[in-house]
């Protein structure tokens, strides 16, 4: 198991920073070989996008002003980041200590998801320099859902940064700062969970004004509730998948004694996801019955809807349940992947596929839009890996040199956060 190097051991901040910036591990890995050209190409496309305008690299039009960058990066990416508020709620509010070992990685994942995916919102704005307007008060637009979403994104990113900041303080060896930041964690978590519930549903509320444009099988006044509930199991599935990959990739970062408890964690997360999916499925069924949509099922759209609802919600839900009962990690992981595919499909259905479904001309993302999305995902993984390899994210809470001089109860409290 590798350990953290502190500033004092490195002989000063700058030499510490230099040592941390050096690459660690092999450079020619399959991920690096694939992701570096994607990132470089994506950056080139972004230069064209910001100098020549959106039309030069995207297939967006007056009929489809929001495309793949909003539908996948923002709407889907934020749902995937739901694991952060779910796990912090479980650990800090419900005191489910069992999940403590994954809090740091989950918060980091959520923070990066918001920075990269929600940050991708700026790419899709025709006048990106106006992104600051809702924040500085230049046309606040109190009645707009986008006003709520923009403020919530900003505040939630700050909340997640605060939640993660004790790790950074630990990495820098700043004992006093860590103690202060750790003391703020509970308040920040309460604030963050509240914001999350509101903006996860807020993203759904954005589509309430598009009633005539969204296919009736996907449109409902309850879209905000659907977005909120589905973000719970999307986030939990993402934590299962991300945790599984991290366990494989960052094996040396994790205490070998903790490997066996990972199975219990995954089973607990799968149980939560199964219950959330069960509730979500019945919500959708109830709305379906209420709106009397039987006849809509007799078309291609109906088959597409059933694929999403039965194939990628109900079946993974039962797979999670079966996996929990039989303690089968393979089935749980497969269910997590199917669930994530279902979330992608649901968000893309609402934002792109079933949007303007009656128009003869359809929107398909250009190759540049897909490359930029792959760039955003690759860049997030690069930053995640950089942080995990340097900061005590998966490792046990790092004991700072002067921790032993602290009052024991304070030191214990700080180490638990």
């Amino acid at each position: 198991m590798s350990r953290v190097t502190t500033i004092s051991e490195q002989g000063g901040f700058w030499s510490f920073l230099r040592s941390q910036l050096r690459p660690r591990g092999k450079i020619l890995t399959p991920f690096n070989v694939i992701s570096v050209p994607i990132i470089l190409l994506g950056l080139g496309i972004l230069v064209v996008r910001f100098t020549q305008g959106l039309g030069s690299v995207t297939n967006l039009s007056q009929e489809y002003p929001w495309g793949f960058w909003i539908g996948f990066d923002v709407i889907t990416g934020v749902a995937f980041a739901g694991g952060a508020y779910t796990i912090t709620f479980a650990v800090y509010i419900m005191r489910m200590e069992k999940y403590h070992p994954i809090v740091r990685a989950t918060v980091l994942n959520g923070l990066l998801a918001y920075i990269f995916y929600a940050g991708a919102l700026a790419l899709d704005l025709g006048r990106p320099w106006n992104i600051i307007n809702p924040i500085i008060g230049n046309s606040f637009g109190f009645n707009s859902v986008l006003f709520l979403v923009s403020w919530h994104f900003l505040l939630y990113m700050l909340a997640e940064l605060l939640e993660f900041s004790p790790v950074v303080a630990e990495w820098l060896g700043a004992r006093r700062a860590r103690r202060i930041l750790s003391a703020m964690t509970l308040a920040t978590v309460i604030f963050g969970v509240t914001l999350s519930c509101l903006h996860q549903s807020g993203l759904g509320a954005l589509y309430l004004m598009a009633k005539p444009k969204i296919h009736p099988l996907w449109y409902s006044e309850f879209i905000p509730i659907f977005f909120l509930v589905s973000s719970i199991f999307a986030g939990l599935s993402m934590v299962i998948l991300e945790g599984t990959l991290s366990h494989r990739v960052f094996k040396d970062q994790i205490d070998p004694k903790k490997h066996h408890s990972f199975e219990d964690l995954v089973i607990g997360l799968a149980k939560g996801a199964a219950i959330a999916m069960f509730v979500y499925y019945f919500f959708r069924a109830l709305i379906f019955l209420h709106d009397k949509q039987w006849t809509l099922l007799r078309s291609g759209w109906g088959a597409w809807y059933l694929l999403e609802i039965i194939g990628l919600v109900l079946i993974p839900c039962f797979m999670f349940a079966y996996g929990v009962r039989h303690r089968s990690l393979g089935i749980i992981k497969t269910a997590a992947v199917l669930t994530l595919v279902g979330i992608v499909l649901n968000r893309l259905n609402i934002s792109i596929i079933a949007y303007n479904w009656y128009l003869p001309v359809r929107y398909y993302p250009s190759w540049q839009e897909i490359v930029v999305t792959m760039m955003v995902v690759s860049a997030e993984i690069w930053v995640f890996r950089w942080i995990v390899l340097r900061m005590p994210v998966l490792r046990e809470a790092h004991e700072l040199p002067s921790d032993t001089q602290e009052k024991p109860e304070r030191a214990a409290a700080a180490a638990s956060l």
């Binding site: 607990g268 149980k271 219950i275 069960f278 509730v279 019945f282 019955l289 929990v324 009962r325 039989h326």
Partner: protein, 41 residues
């Protein structure tokens, strides 16, 4: 004036009530299934 028969399960929202009640029963059974000793957790 719109008319409907009280025995029509579609017009009286009877189906919605049935679904809601079956959901509550099934949810209890589902959670119990997840807590069975086989699942230990």
């Amino acid at each position: 004036m719109e008319t409907y028969t009280y025995v029509n399960i579609f017009e009286t929202k009877g189906l919605e009530y049935l679904l809601l009640m079956s959901f509550l029963v099934l949810l209890v059974l589902f959670v119990r299934y997840l807590r069975e000793p086989g699942g230990k957790d």
